[in-house]
């Protein structure tokens, strides 16, 4: 391990334990006795988060993807809240009608995101934006369940992907190599 990566690891250890300690304090308060439980919990969370975001040796060096941009975070939160609102309204409007307005089906989306944290963020957000639910992730293929296959999801998913990429400081390939980013997949989900 060279000097730079040692400094980086120390910084990650420090910033993450600070973050988890902050979350603990927020949840439990300042009671010093509570740290009997809180201390080990913070240490365990820090170790787990470092392990889980570790770059696998086989992956190219640029795929770290855990460099969250704090500058970008407020904008992402605003985007996320607006999309959540749209998603909630959309689904509420669909189920409150006398006849359900749905045409469910499964689609495949090829994500250009490389980092694992970025991908997890992406698939979690896919389930909260209007009309889409992330159902599987294999390699770079995200199975997306659509509430209404009549509406194209391509633009929405790509916009979300770009937002997540910016949040994690990833540069996306220019695309579109494939004409059909979302291609139909056989089989309706469910019963």
């Amino acid at each position: 391990m060279n000097h730079d990566s040692a400094v980086l690891l120390a910084w990650k250890l420090f910033s993450r334990s600070l973050l988890f300690a902050g979350i603990w304090m927020l949840l439990v308060g300042t009671d010093p006795l509570a740290w009997i439980v809180g201390g080990p919990a913070v240490i365990a969370a820090t170790v787990a988060s470092l392990k889980l975001t570790q770059v696998t040796p086989s992956a190219p060096a640029r795929t770290d993807g855990s460099s969250l941009s704090w500058l970008e975070l407020p904008r992402f939160i605003a985007f996320f809240m607006w999309e959540s609102w749209r998603g909630g309204l959309d689904v509420a409007a669909r189920v409150m009608r006398p006849r359900l307005r749905i045409r469910p089906g499964m689609r495949i989306y090829h994500t250009r995101l490389r980092g694992r944290p970025a991908r997890v963020m992406f698939i979690d957000c896919v389930s909260l934006i209007p009309g889409t639910l992330s159902a599987d992730l294999r390699g770079d293929q995200v199975s997306v369940h659509a509430l209404d296959v009549g509406v194209s999801l391509d633009a929405d998913l790509r916009r979300l992907e770009e937002r997540v990429a910016r949040l994690f400081g990833e540069a996306l390939e220019p695309q579109p190599a494939t004409a059909s980013m979302i291609s139909a997949q056989a089989g309706e989900g469910g019963q």
Partner: protein
């Protein structure tokens, strides 16, 4: 009633509406995937609005921030849980019979 209280009441009422919509969706939707759609999205917005409505009524800043943190944690857990249930259903390894 102060303006803040009225605002809170409106936010809480709207939040409750979304929880109701999520529950109606859970009952009316035809399969697992579509039920997950209804639950994750509607409940995420519902809880967000309830949290926003409760924040101004919180006794101090820490309690208000705590409510915000709870929303974030539930949103992450909800979306991740939905993905795992959907993944299980889509891979259909035979352990879940209908």
């Amino acid at each position: 009633m102060t303006i803040i209280e009225i605002l809170s009441l409106v936010l809480l009422g709207t939040g409750a509406f979304f929880f109701l919509a999520g529950s109606i969706g859970l009952m009316r939707m035809p399969d697992r995937f579509t039920r997950l759609h209804a639950l994750t999205k509607a409940d995420n917005v519902g809880l967000g609005l309830i949290v926003l409505g409760l924040m101004p009524l919180a006794p101090d800043v820490r309690d208000a921030l705590k409510l915000g943190l709870i929303w974030i944690l539930v949103a992450v857990a909800g979306a991740t849980g939905a993905h795992l249930i959907a993944k299980r259903a889509v891979r259909d390894d035979g352990e879940d019979s209908h």
